[in-house]
Symmetry: C2
Subunit: 314 residues, 2 copies
């Protein structure tokens, strides 16, 4: 069986909280390390188990991720918590393997133009890094799983429409290069429900035993509609960020990642138990509010609460 | 063939703009009549054809609807525009029939408790008014169609869960009483996609040739996910309000009706041509912003725009 299946069981929904990574990618002011640790602990206490905690990048370029090692160490102390971190070059990869998150996330762009604009390398070079990650991870003591996020998988704000066949080709190349799982990312919120559902069916067939993730942004309001379509089409791993943090550089003022709390609510209403206590999760927002007072915080459940029904979970 | 089918053809999606009715139900300050006329004209120019324009109620109780007659007269001058207005008692019904909108909307609550709280009458009495509306409409010169909105059809904030069988029973009683069409309303935003889809399949089977509407609120963030599920399950008529106007008395600060602009975007992306020019529709928001400066205006497309693709419509 695929090793990632121990961490993402096929028979239930797993929700990855990417607020401390994607959510902080663009914020002007970021939380103190102690606040991030509290965020992580309190989300864990609420039942969250899958955390993307940051990126292994030079601290002078991305100071918001300078404390990635402390966060991974903290996650290792929390029973059942699984930590993931991005590694975008060989140096980051070596740093990640020394630190030991449970999952290393590499990124491959769906389009050559975005690959160059975002990471100044070809897609082929990005896939070579995936092969290197898989090789080094396999040789390392902690043997983290390797997850590859395919950015712009539902359309690219630089080049426009993206053919699903191209995404599938890249996903297949990543799996062949040794990735344990792949993630299709709607980086700029171009996806729509029927499109997301079709992709899920195709990538699910391609992946077979390997898990696949759908990573959605709510830029154009379809985040939860796309998540519902993904669940309907067999997706069992979804990303979201607390408060919907994570703006889009191409749409000023737009919302960011799909709101994690609202995603939990959707899953529960659709009959997928998440193991997450919604009220305790919503309460963690106070950390984001206190640490990033200028950041718009999104979320319908935080505003309105779940329905006043004793048994609103399906 | 059911008469309402001339107005709501079965082979395409019809979107009802309820911003001037449901959208203004709770606002503190409301647009001037001239601004409403402009709102209506400009939405018509953008391609909108179905408008719910207000309610026939005493002007001292609901001053925001005091100009309902002018708006209906204005709609009558716009080629292809179809106007609807609420009538909640015999007096309102007579006023509506004198004025002559294309559609009279009656309301029946899904629960006895909400019926009493909202309209101080039993559900049976509300259905009697439907019968009276159908009778008088049939005898009137303009012969408006009669649409019955079933409030709290997906759950009631007073009594909790609502059995779908109860909604179907009420819908059937309304059709038997002479209603031309029915509308299932998620008044307090309790619905979830699978629940909405199941309702659409059942109500569609019950209605046969009679059209049915799904009226959604975005209180808990699932408005567009529920709309996508409704479309998937055969619904072809959806309500929305410009800027998502229409707060919920039971959830302070919560969003209101599903955002009309975002609903247009969803439909187009799912392959349903609406005939509505999204950019021209979004521009109408400036009227709402100018006339109701204190009102929160919602909407993702207004913030982020559609994808930068020449052919984003499916």
């Amino acid at each position: 069986m695929n090793r990632a299946r121990d961490i993402y069981p096929p028979d239930r929904v797993s929700l990855r909280e990417v607020g401390l990574r994607d959510g902080l990618q663009m914020v002007r002011r970021f939380p103190a390390t102690a606040a991030k640790v509290e965020w992580l602990r309190r989300e864990h206490a609420a039942g969250v188990r899958h955390f993307e905690l940051g990126s292994f990048l030079p601290a002078n370029r991305m100071p918001q991720f300078a404390d990635i090692r402390e966060l991974i160490a903290e996650a290792a102390r929390l029973p059942g918590a699984h930590s993931a971190a991005l590694a975008l070059n060989e140096r980051g990869l070596r740093d990640a393997l020394e630190t030991g998150p449970g999952e290393i996330v590499c990124v491959v762009s769906a389009t050559e133009a975005h690959s160059q604009a975002n990471m100044r390398r070809t897609r082929a070079a990005a896939i070579e890094l995936v092969a290197r990650a898989a090789e080094l991870a396999g040789e390392s003591a902690r043997r983290p799983i390797v997850n590859v996020g395919i950015a712009m998988a539902f359309g690219c704000s630089i080049t426009g429409a993206v053919a699903p066949a191209e995404v599938l080709r890249l996903a297949e190349a990543c799996l062949k290069a040794g990735a344990d799982m792949v993630s299709v990312a709607d980086t700029v919120g171009y996806g729509a429900p029927a499109q997301v559902a079709a992709m899920c069916r195709e990538i699910g067939a391609l992946c077979g035993d390997a898990p696949f993730v759908v990573h959605l942004h709510d830029t154009r309001g379809l985040g939860l509609a796309n998540a519902a379509a993904a669940l309907d089409a067999g997706c069992r791993i979804l990303d979201g960020s607390l408060c919907g943090l994570g703006g889009c550089p191409f749409a000023p003022g737009a919302t960011g990642n799909v709101v994690f709390e609202d995603l939990v609510y959707l899953c529960e209403r659709q009959g997928f138990a998440t193991g997450i206590a919604l009220d305790r999760l919503v309460a963690v927002r106070e950390i984001a509010a206190a640490e990033m007072p200028d950041e718009p915080l999104h979320g319908a459940i935080a505003r309105a609460g779940p329905p006043s029904l004793p048994d609103w979970r399906a």
